[in-house]
């Protein structure tokens, strides 16, 4: 099978407008004849559901949370990028495009990324019109900050709660359509299977998380907006409920999974405090604008940070990268923190942390200024660690934060299954091997507000209005499959809890497929994951019944899918014999220890096709063409 990205021909800056014009349209009166299912109600899902409903489609939206307002987009702190150039500092659509391609280490698709940069302008307008209270200057105009190493100030923000405010905006638009009768909302409902009819996605099977009822929902198209799979590592900055189940089960029906090994490790998280740890908390990257990262020069220096004189501190990011300093991209900052800790220079009780110090910033700008910028983050840090970052440096360590890989999609955001779309973090398309700060919110909203409304019409215009009844054999078979899996999970009654097995999986993934990877380690991990899978299906202990609120049962299904995805990530990481972005293979590095890409052999998207439980997945390659940027070695010196 040849993967066709369906990227339009012609000059980069004309592709999207040309594509919109060429796309088939569904007459306004006919839109109401089409039903669309949206799974997930984060930024991508809520904005898509609202926008499609506004156009007249009948939307059914699903989330596992008790309210669509709680999706994990809400936790994004730092901001959202847009090429508005309000600051007159040289930003442009092309620069945002260029930065995103370069930041992604040349492993993303030019046409998609350019479109993302283009519609970034509309997103900010839309959010302001909804009443999103972005930060403003005294003159009343919008404020911007530079974020995560960008050389221009293009990040819009609402204190440290940008994701929350954008999600509440999308949620309000969604709520309006619920009132208008165009969206039917199903909270506390989890998608457990995709239903295919004649090779097209035509519905989903869900479980009502309160009653356990298994239900069929039929539609003309299905949108998966279910976020990333960072929780495969058990410990991550994702919410506890984030999972890959919807995407993975669609994958088993033929949706290719692209670049699964591209995961982002965020450099500024609060370090692990013990074995009880259930999740990790991010400290916004914006802290690196004012905080300085350091460790002691000497190994095993256990003095309190205030007793270590300047001359005995190693500001290792400033030393190694004089021009970007503390603002190097996430993957570079994370890897360097790992190096100094591996050398035995890490700080804190575990030795797995580096300092992020605000002493100089407080001296320069005053405590009040720092407090107004980061007050809520400092409070959060103090709450979790019991230490006051105004007086003693923060301790930080990298943690899994975002997954660039995801379901393969073409320019229309359609997966390899006709009628099945994937939006936001759930797809692979825009961030290549590494995502830039403040670009996740941008992509989620771009896909939902401004891409899918056009893209879906092009497909639906070719389809008949006929609805498939839910007693169709395809629905019945899928329901049966879901019930069988649930019965099996409940019947094993072994001795390991779901969390125990999930922790083991996470440890293997972190140790062998985390910040740096080797062929040898990955091969070992392959065997370990096989063992974990066997143990899961023979020894897991899930109590209770299906017909009740049963959180262990919910988790068990999700962990079963994480184990299989973990195995695929290992294969993908083994296959990619180069280092790029978040994927660092120790065998492939420059003399200075930087990631060494192999453009000749690896300038492609690795898209994996499921071949059944017992067989290896088949690799398909989408060659990436770069017509508008020149591939260079990323350098942040």
């Amino acid at each position: 099978m040849i993967l066709d990205s369906k990227s339009p021909h012609g000059p980069l800056e004309e592709k999207w407008s040309k594509h919109i014009f060429d796309a088939k349209l569904v007459n306004p009166a006919n839109k109401r004849k089409f039903d669309v299912i949206v799974v997930g109600t984060g930024l991508a899902g809520a904005s898509a559901a609202a926008s499609l409903a506004e156009l007249g489609y009948n939307v059914k939206a699903f989330c596992f949370q008790d309210s669509p307002r709680r999706a994990h987009s809400i936790a994004a702190q730092g901001g959202i990028n847009a090429a508005k150039n309000y600051q007159n500092d040289g930003d442009s659509v092309f620069r945002l495009f260029y930065d995103t391609i370069k930041g992604g280490d040349y492993r993303s698709r030019e046409s998609n990324v350019y479109r993302l940069a283009e519609v970034s302008l509309n997103i900010i307008d839309q959010c302001v019109a909804q009443g999103v209270p972005f930060a403003r200057e005294y003159g009343g105009l919008l404020a911007n900050r530079s974020f995560g190493g960008a050389q221009v100030s293009r990040t819009f923000y609402a204190r440290g709660q940008t994701g929350q405010q954008l999600l509440l905006g999308a949620y309000s638009a969604l709520s309006r359509q619920v009132t208008n009768g165009k969206v039917q909302m199903f909270p506390r409902t989890e998608m457990l299977d995709l239903v295919m009819v004649d090779g097209h996605a035509r519905g989903i099977i869900t479980r009502n998380l309160i009653t356990g009822k298994i239900e069929s929902h039929s539609a003309h198209a299905v949108l998966l907006c279910t976020g990333g799979y960072g929780n495969v590592f058990y410990l991550s900055t994702n919410a506890m409920g984030c999972n890959t189940t919807a995407a993975w089960r669609a994958h088993k029906h033929g949706a290719f999974f692209a670049n699964p090994c591209f995961t982002q490790i965020h450099p500024t998280c609060i370090p692990v405090s013990g074995d009880h740890q259930s999740k990790l908390t991010l400290m916004s990257e914006s802290l690196r604008n004012d905080g300085r990262v350091w460790v002691p020069k000497e190994k095993g220096d256990k003095r309190s940070p205030k007793d270590i004189p300047e001359a005995e501190r190693d500001y290792f990011l400033e030393r190694r990268y004089p021009s970007f300093g503390n603002l190097v991209p996430r993957d570079v900052a994370s890897r360097n923190a790992k190096y100094v800790c591996d050398e035995g220079r890490g700080v804190g009780a575990t030795g797995l942390a580096v300092y992020l110090d605000f002493k100089d910033a407080i001296k320069r700008d005053g405590k009040d200024t720092i407090e107004s910028k980061y007050g809520n983050l400092f409070d959060m840090y103090k709450q979790i660690t019991g230490e006051n970052p105004y007086e003693t440096p923060m301790r930080i360590y990298p943690a899994v934060h975002y997954t660039m890989g995801g379901l393969w999609v073409d320019y229309n955001l359609m997966t390899t299954i006709p009628g099945l779309y994937s939006l936001g973090e759930c797809n692979f398309s825009d961030h290549g091997a590494n995502r830039l700060g403040a670009s996740a919110l941008m992509q989620g909203l771009a896909d939902g507000y401004f891409v899918i409304p056009y893209a879906i019409g092009d497909y639906l215009a070719t389809r008949s209005y006929d609805k498939i009844p839910t007693d169709h054999p395809s629905f019945k078979q899928s329901e049966e499959r879901v019930r069988d899996q649930i019965s099996k999970l409940l019947s094993i009654n072994g001795s390991s809890t779901v969390d125990q097995i999930h922790r083991e999986l996470g440890k293997v993934m972190w140790d062998y497929c985390g910040m740096s990877r080797t062929a040898e380690g990955l091969q070992q991990a392959r065997g370990k994951i096989k063992e974990i899978k066997e143990r899961f299906w023979s020894d897991v202990k899930v109590l209770g019944t299906n017909e009740e609120l049963n959180m262990s049962l919910e988790k068990a299904g999700r962990v079963a899918d994480f184990i299989e995805l973990g195995a695929l990530m290992i294969e993908d990481a083994l296959n990619r014999k180069e280092s790029c972005g978040g994927h660092f293979r120790e065998e492939y590095q420059t003399e200075e220890g930087e990631a060494l890409r192999d453009d000749e052999n690896h300038t492609y998207v690795a898209a994996w096709e499921y071949q059944g439980d017992e067989s290896n997945e088949t690799l398909h390659k989408e060659q990436l063409e770069f017509e508008n940027v020149k591939l260079t070695q990323r350098s942040y010196k």
């Binding site: 904005s47 506004e54 007249g56 949370q65 008790d66 309210s67 669509p68 709680r70 994990h72 809400i74 936790a75 900010i124 307008d125 839309q126 959010c127 302001v128 019109a129 909804q130 009443g131 209270p133 972005f134 930060a135 403003r136 009343g140 919008l142 609402a158 204190r159 709660q161 929350q164 405010q165 638009a173 709520s175 309006r176 359509q177 619920v178 009132t179 909302m185 909270p187 919410a239 506890m240 409920g241 405090s273 013990g274 009880h276 740890q277 259930s278 908390t281 959060m380 979790i384 019991g386 507000y449 401004f450 001795s495 809890t497 969390d499 202990k541 109590l543 009740e548 609120l549 959180m551």
Partner: protein, 259 residues
């Protein structure tokens, strides 16, 4: 650290609940409150006992999912945090800790500590939005907004919809939650257009859901993890009185909505 936990157990909405007592041992003071409950649940599952069900998700104080009444206070003893941000160093070794669900008629218990807060969604659906569709909006910098107004709107918009305000109120009033949204949107020029009908419709829905009246006790704001100020209730009251004075009393539902 060792603790005795008295936890509300209730099989489902239709069953009668009661307190069960559990003891947990060797708890680290660095553990979060929910991690302590995770440990309890791991032990319960191993003993073949049903784990304690509780709502939680982001575990960083922003999604508003966690909702526990701890020792008689919404989200526990600390000010301005959610349950998930509470750490065991806030308790003394040997303490007995009582854990209950939110108690309010419009928030029926689903299981153990899990309650149904869908009433909040229905209140937002009644008018907690600006009626703009995607596309065709003015440039973001077209309308300047004074920083003082933007900041006050942001304070209101910080509400996470957890329901602590309702749980803390002796009347189970939702005034703080509703006023946060009414105030956030009424302050901004974008939301001003519909301020009148919004206040009327959201308050009508709030009453319909069975939330109690406000008697200005202020427990809601004192227990709010985001410290939403009572000022917003005052502002909502002003919006509501203005609305009622100028209203033609046509419920918004009968107006024509374009999808």
């Amino acid at each position: 650290m060792d603790f005795t936990l008295k936890i509300w157990r209730q099989k489902d909405a239709g069953s009668k609940g009661s307190f069960n007592t559990y003891s947990v041992k060797d708890i680290s003071s660095d553990m979060s409150f929910l991690e302590m409950l995770d440990e309890l649940n791991e032990d319960l599952i191993k003993d073949g006992e049903s784990p304690v069900h509780f709502d939680h998700d982001c575990r960083e104080g922003i999604c508003g999912t966690c909702s526990m009444y701890i020792n008689g206070r919404a989200h526990g003893p600390q000010k301005a945090i959610t349950t998930c941000q509470l750490h065991m160093r806030s308790f003394k070794d040997g303490d007995t800790i009582t854990i209950e669900p939110w108690r309010a008629k419009p928030f029926p218990v689903i299981r153990d500590l899990v309650v149904d807060r869908s009433a909040f969604d229905r209140i937002i659906q009644a008018g907690g939005y600006v009626s703009v569709s995607t596309g065709g909006v003015p440039d973001a910098n077209e309308i300047p907004i004074p920083t003082s107004i933007a900041n006050e709107a942001m304070d209101a918009a910080s509400c996470i919809g957890c329901g602590a305000c309702v749980a803390a109120c002796k009347n189970a009033s939702a005034m703080l939650f509703v006023s946060a949204k009414v105030s956030h949107l009424a302050l901004l020029p974008q939301g001003k257009v519909e301020a009148t009908s919004r206040a009327e419709n959201m308050i009508a829905q709030m009453d319909k859901e069975g939330f109690g009246l406000c008697t200005n006790t202020g427990a809601c704001s004192a227990e709010c993890p985001k410290e939403i100020s009572l000022t917003h209730i005052a502002r909502m009251n002003r919006e509501y009185f203005n609305a009622k004075q100028t209203s033609n009393n046509i419920p918004d539902k009968e107006e024509v909505h374009e999808g």
